[in-house]
Every structure is written in C-alpha cells, then in structure tokens.
C-alpha cells in the first residue's frame, strides 16, 4: 500500500540498485541524519540495510517476524545478530506488520498495524520473493495463495506435463530462494522428463554461509531441530558475539543441522559431516568449542566417502577431485580447477581440496612438496638450509645452481628474506629481488606515491622529535596519521623526495621503521609502572629494549610485538606475534597471535620469567620461526600447522628438546649485532640514492600524481 510513492524501491536489478544509490546519496547530501528503512530482515534485507547505512543514512530494518532471518536462525542466534547489527548503527524493529507507506508524493513514514509509525524518507523493500507466475495462472495451473506454481516432489505442476523449478516454484509451501535447491530441482525435473524416477531429497538443503555485514552467519540441515528426535549442543559467548548450535541425533552419533554466528570457519567441515552422515566423535561438543592448543576435532577430509560434495558451487565430489589427481595427473590446485572447476566459485572449499590433493598424491607414492614456485623444487625451509650451508650470497647463483628460469615475484623476495636472515643483509644490497616496498624502502600507496614511517620504539617520543616529524611533513606536504602500532605515518611522498625526507629524519635522530618490510614492525606498549597506578613492571622500558633488539630483522612475514604492564593488557599484546605481560612474579610470554582478518590470541609459552629469560626465549622463538615458516606465513598459522602445537614449540624453545638452542642463539646474535639502518646506508651512498627517481632519462616527476584536499590535509585523486 503506497509503494508507488517517490522514495520506495524494490531490490531486484542493477538498475534498481543504481536508483537506490542515487536517491540515497541525494538524501544523505542534505547533511542531517535522514531516516531510511529496509522492509525485510532476511539475508538480502540486511545486506541492503548495510548498504543504506554506508550511504550515510539513519537506517532502520523492519521485520514482520519476531526475529531476524527467521528461516535460518533460532531465537538466540537472531538475537546475537540483532545486537551486532545495532552495533554498526542500524536500528531493528521486529514483529512489525506494515499497514501503509504514508506521505504525499514522496513517502514520509511507515505506519504499522499496531498503531505505531516510523519516519522514513526512503524505503527499500526486500521482503521475500514474489514469483512471476502470471503465465502459470493464465494457463490454469494451481498457484499458491501468495503466489508460486505448486509443485510435487517430482517438480510437476498441477498439470503433469508442465514442470516448474527455481524461484517460481512453490514446494512444500515454500519458495526456495537459494541456488543449491535450485540445482537439485533442475536435476529432478530433467530426470523425470527423461523418464527416470527422480524425486527431491526428503530434507531440502537450505544450507547457507555468508559474511553478512561483516559477521559470519551460517546454517545447515535441520536448523530448528524439529524434524526428528534430537538434542542440541549450544555454545554462546555474548562478549565475542559468537553463537554455535549443533543438532545431533538422540544417540549422539549423527549431525542433523546447526547454526553458526560470529565464527563460521568450520562450516564446510560440519556441512560435510552432516551431508555424508559421518559418525560424530564421542564428544561432539569439541566440534564447536576449541580448546587451547587442542587438536582439531574434525577427522581428515580423506575419510569422507567418494560421493561427498566438496565444492558445492560447481558440485564437484571428492571422488572427482581424487580422480583428477590419480587419473588426469593434476598436481596443483590450479590444474584441479582447470580439470574439475572446483574452487572456481566462492573458494570456500580450497583448504579441503588442498588436503585432498596432498592425500591423493601421497597415496600414489609421490612426495608432496610445498615448493615456493615453479623456479625451485624446494620449500622455503630447504632453500634456507641450502643458502646457509653453501653460503650463497646472490640470487643469480642460487637459481643457476638449484633452480630453473629467471625467477619471479614469489621466489625473489623469498630469497631476499633468506639472505637477510642469514647474512644480516639489508634490502639495499640486492634491490632487484626485493618487492617494490623493500626496493624503495617505503610503502607504495594509491597513485604510486609512498608513505614513510620512522621507528618510534615502544611508542615513546620526545616533543623535539614530534616537532621534527611535523616539520618534515610540512615541508614535503605529507598527509600524517597515527598508526595502529604507536607511530606516525607520512603519506604522499614522491619517489624522488624519499632520500631528502630521510636525510632530514636521520639528522633528527630517526631510523627506518621497516614498515615496508616483512620484518619486525613495532613493539607496542602501555605506559607501565612508571606512571600507571596499576602497573606491575616498566612495560615501556622493556618494549623499547625489545624493539631495539630486533629492529631490522626480516622474517617470512611481518612480526609485531607488545608489552603490557599488567593483566589489564592495554598494549593488546596478545594480539601480536609475541606479547609480554607483567605479573606480580615476572613476565608472562605469549606467542603466535595476530589481529587482521583472522584474529588469534597469542598463547602462553612461559610464565613468571625475568627479562633476561624472556629475551632468550624470544631470540629462539623468532629465529625458529624465521628458519622454518613458509613464505608469507605469520606466526599464528605457522603454529597451527606445527605438529604438536604449542606444547612442541615450548619443548623446543624452553627445554631445548631438539638441541638447537645454542645455534638459534648464535644466529640471532649475528642478526642483532649486525643491524644497520638501511635508510642511512641509502642516503649516504650516491649510487643507491640515484635509484630514487621516477624517470631514468629525465629529472621531471610523474605528472599523473594528483592530490585533492581532505580535512585540511590531502589524499590521492581517485579515478
């Protein structure tokens, strides 16, 4: 009622979206918080709400049911989702039956059956699917009261010679708006047309997994646990916004369905267990509650039956993938994708296909090797050992002796990192094998300019040094921002300005911050016991000592650290590759955490230790990581793949179970003692300095670099 008014949109085609965006931006440009509403709290409605919110409008979601995503989530899961959505500034109105879209020519508000109303100048309707069944009605086929061609389990309409599938079909009283049941319907219909006796599976596959407004939401099988006698296992952590529910059969042996909100990385494995009827482990709760340092509760993907569908986008089974390896001779993921199309859709099955590939190769007696790229038949660790034993110093020699071809953007930086770790070589020595950031000792940004980050150990800085940074930024017109690692980033430097900028920074007492390298970045600190009334130990002094100790050290990936003065953990040290936290009885050392896309808390390596012990463990831990991790593998995934996990790592580092402690100590001491600031090296050496210009044949600068103003500073002009 009233959906012909200006400001009311449906959400169906690209053109619809363009119109919504245009209209929404006009409203947002008015400058005041303009209210807009989305009708429908399902998958699409919530995505639409996020988009409307991103346009800058005050956003409301209106849902008829008493909870969000009523088909996929139970009450507790929906409740958690509602809180998360409200957390990003979208208001949620449940149990609201819309009576009227009110207003004159333009809509002004919504009126609900319960007498309440909601001001809204724009409305996006995303309230389910209206099947386009006009043709069926005209032809006299039976359609549902709210639309949809009624079909039986063979996809036959009321006329047995007419079939309907997909979103026009009404099956078991529902229009199924998901692609998986659509595929099954197509198969069933074709089978029947060809005279086979196919029918839909008894339980329609409504499994979904997606990142909804930045929150993982997944459900599969019998979500509500109503289709068979069963019991539910529920894990909820309101603080972290995680809810997991598994519905298992009464005997605890089969998985019947489940819901994951906030953390859904195990969805694929759970779906496989459910779909293939795999017997659950004796303690199925281990499938949703990970115990620290514990082994994965999931069996191997190799144990799945051949019929198990691994890639649901392209419906590729385990058998097909294994055959691609054993019969078609595929030896890489790329080859498997080419042969079977697996992984080419959403990519969610990639880890499983990778495991299958390795398993199948192993079964054929082929050694499975993680080589760095096509140019070397070696892993990073093997290359490390080769370079160390043969004492190689040049990329050209290593590839001539142990590889093939010219090298590439993968193996060159890997060897650059290895040379750095073995010979304490800086990035200026062999600049041609460095990634552009290391080649020019700065971070490349949009429009090809660079950002500059001087080291500020522990985040402690004098007023004089702050002024010096300010003066440099002012002189070279750089955009300045405080980083997450307690330092200052200066953006928008032209290539040819970099040596001049650094000349001044070095004169003011700064060194390279290695923000451009796969190297130690920062050791973040809280203010600690010198000032803080809760502080147990002097976290700033220790953070500075640790950062000075490891500055310039390169690794398979970037390394970040943190030191907190008490268990309140203001330095967020457990979100770092190593975190040191003060207690009444000394330091606790945590390792292998990170923030980013897949946050991990660092786990305890040793507790109640003094500073010297802490540094010794750190030396060994970092050197062990540098020597053994794969390219671009951070400490958390490195630990995850380590057989024996943190207990093994503790044995190696603390108890020296491999007898390599002394060697690790020596190697680390070599790196620490041979540190030099590579920017100082670059600025003082005319040959290196000459690399920093845009053209080899002209002193001109790149005319394509353009900036526009942004809050009294500047930003690159967008295309």
């Amino acid at each position: 009622m009233g959906n012909d008014k200006l400001g009311v949109f449906v959400y169906r085609t690209i053109e619809d979206l363009e119109q919504i965006t245009q209209y929404g931006m006009k409203l947002a440009a008015k400058g005041v918080a303009t209210p807009a509403a989305v009708l429908g709290g399902g998958l699409l409605g919530l995505e639409a709400a996020k988009a409307v919110r991103d346009l800058g409008l005050e956003t409301h979601v209106v849902e008829f049911a008493p909870r969000l995503m009523p088909r996929q989530l139970d009450e507790r899961a929906a409740d958690l989702l509602r809180e998360a959505i409200q957390g990003i500034g979208v208001q949620v109105h449940l149990s609201k039956n819309t009576r009227l879209i009110a207003g004159q020519e333009r809509m002004s508000h919504l009126e609900f059956v319960d007498g309440s109303s909601l001001p809204a100048e724009m409305l996006v309707i995303s309230a389910g699917i209206l099947p386009r069944d006009e043709l069926a009605s005209l032809g006299g086929l039976e359609v549902g009261p709210r639309g949809g061609v009624v079909v039986d389990e063979y996809m036959r309409s009321s006329d047995p010679n007419v079939y309907a599938i997909g979103e026009v079909a009404l099956y078991q009283g529902m229009v199924l708006a998901l692609v998986a049941p659509g595929y099954e319907m197509a198969e069933v219909a074709v089978g029947n047309i060809l005279g086979k006796d196919n029918s839909m599976s008894p339980v329609v596959d409504l499994s979904t997994s997606l990142k909804l407004i930045g929150i993982d939401v997944a459900s599969f099988g019998d979500v509500f646990g109503t289709q068979a006698p069963q019991r539910a296992i529920v894990f909820e952590d309101k603080l972290k916004g995680i809810y997991k529910r598994l519905n298992v059969s009464e005997d605890g042996k089969k998985l019947l369905g489940g819901i994951l909100v906030g953390e859904a990385s195990d969805y694929n494995q759970l779906l496989q267990i459910y779909k293939n009827g795999i017997t659950l482990p004796p303690e199925p709760e281990a499938l949703i509650v990970k115990l620290a340092g514990g082994e994965s509760a999931f069996g191997s993907v190799l144990d799945l039956p051949d019929a198990a569908v691994i890639c649901s986008c392209e419906s590729v089974s385990k058998g097909q993938i294994c055959a691609a390896v054993s019969e078609a001779g595929c030896e890489t993921l790329k080859a498997i994708t080419k042969c079977t199309k697996a992984i080419s859709g959403c990519g969610g099955c990639k880890p499983m296909v990778d495991d299958l590939l390795k398993g199948a190769l192993k079964a054929m007696g082929k050694t499975v090797k993680e080589t760095v790229c096509e140019h070397f038949p070696h892993s990073r660790q093997e290359l490390f050992d080769i370079v160390k034993v043969k004492n190689y110093t040049r990329f050209e020699t290593v590839i001539a002796e142990h590889g093939t071809g010219y090298g590439c953007e993968v193996c060159k930086p890997v060897l650059a990192s290895i040379f750095a770790s073995i010979h304490a070589e800086t990035a200026v020595a062999q600049s041609g094998i460095q990634d552009t950031n290391d080649r020019f000792l700065a971070n490349i940004q949009r429009n090809g300019t660079y950002s500059v980050v001087p080291r500020i150990p522990g985040g402690e800085i004098t007023p004089e040094k702050l002024i010096a940074i300010g003066e440099v930024a002012q002189k070279y017109a750089l955009y300045t921002k405080i980083t997450g690692g307690q330092r200052i980033d200066l953006f928008g430097a032209r290539l040819d300005d970099l040596p001049f900028i650094w000349e001044e920074l070095i004169a003011a007492g700064f060194e390279s911050g290695h923000a451009y390298g796969k190297a130690l970045r920062t050791v973040k600190s809280c203010v600690g016991s010198t000032w803080c009334r809760f502080g147990m130990l002097d976290s700033v002094s220790f953070a500075i000592e640790v950062e000075e100790r490891y500055k310039g050290i390169r690794a398979p990936h970037k390394i970040k650290g943190g030191v907190s003065g008490c268990i309140r953990e203001c330095a967020e040290a457990r979100g770092k590759d190593f975190g040191i936290i003060a207690t009444e009885e000394g330091w606790n050392l945590y390792v292998c955490g990170n923030g980013g896309a897949n946050p991990k808390h660092a786990v305890l390596l040793a507790e109640k230790i003094d500073s010297q012990t802490c540094l010794r463990y750190l030396d060994r831990f970092l050197m062990f990581y540098i020597k053994t991790a794969g390219p671009l593998v951070r400490t958390a995934p490195w630990l995850e793949k380590m057989e024996g996990g943190i207990n093994y790592l503790r044995e190696v580092i603390v108890n020296d179970s491999l007898g390599i402690g002394a060697e690790l100590d020596v190697d680390m001491a070599n790196l620490i003692n041979n540190y030099q600031c590579e920017w100082k090296e670059a600025v003082e050496n005319p040959a290196i300095r000459a690399r920093f210009k845009h053209f080899v044949n002209s002193e001109e600068t790149d005319e394509n670099i353009e900036f526009v103003s942004l809050r009294e500073q500047k930003m690159p002009r967008a295309w």
Binding site: E374, H375, F395, E396, A400, G405, Y406, G407, C408, E409, C411, K412, P413, S431, G432, I433, D435, T436, N437, R439, F440, I444, R446, N447, G448, R691, H694, F695, V696, N697, S698, E700, D702, N704, W719
Partner: protein, 124 residues
C-alpha cells in the same frame, strides 16, 4: 581514464619508425626495471641481465591505472618473460602484453635494441 590508456598502443619491430635513445645501459638497473619518458608517454624498460635481454612496455598498470609497472619484479612464467605489478601482483607477459593471471586486458609492449652501449625503444 580511457584517454590515458589510449596513449599506449603496441608496436612491433617491423612498425618502428623512430628508435628513441633512452639512455646508456648503465643507467638501467640489473635484472629490474626503470621508467623512461618519451613525449607524453611513460615506458617501463626491463633489463634481464642474466639472459642479456631487454623488454619494454607501458608503465601504466591497467588494473588500477597506476604508473608503476617499472617498479615491479620481473621473472618468467614457464619461460615467458613477465613483470608483476607492485600494487596487486597482476602479471603481464613482456612478449605479448597479455595479463597472465587475471582478466586485466593487454598492455602495450615495445621493441628495444641496444647499440654502442645505448638503449633504444621503438615507436611507430
């Protein structure tokens, strides 16, 4: 944006009308790239020193329209010389200009010759 791209059209050796002198060999880094200015064009020139080969292409990466290809790492894919854009690691063949790991479209490549210690780029 399109006008920037349209400045760059591939040139084959037989179409060359002008051999532009870009500079002496030693001005170019070994086993890496550098950028040459020719009129209003930016050309990336790469010296595969170990193989004694030279290649040239537009400096403009068509993926995000940045003038950066000369700063990319060079190498080969199954023997075909390539450059990897430093921004997002799109790789391009230096023989054909083809995008080897995506659907970015083809970049313009130019012939290079070396004579009396000087590097020349061919334009039509």
């Amino acid at each position: 944006m399109q006008t920037l791209l349209s400045k760059y059209t591939p040139v084959t050796e037989s179409e060359v009308k002008i051999w532009f002198k870009a500079g002496p060999i030693h001005a170019f880094p070994d086993n890496a790239g550098a950028c040459v200015k020719y009129q209003d064009k930016q050309i990336a020139v790469f010296h595969f020193t170990a193989q004694g080969r030279w290649y040239a292409c537009q400096n403009l990466c068509p993926h995000r329209m940045e003038m950066v290809l000369s700063r990319g790492l060079i190498g080969d894919e199954k023997g075909e010389p390539k450059v990897a854009c430093p921004m997002h690691k799109r790789t391009f063949s230096l023989l054909t200009g083809e995008n080897l790991n995506g659907d970015c479209g083809t970049i313009a490549v130019y012939p290079v010759k070396v004579s009396d210690g000087e590097v020349y780029i061919g334009f039509s």
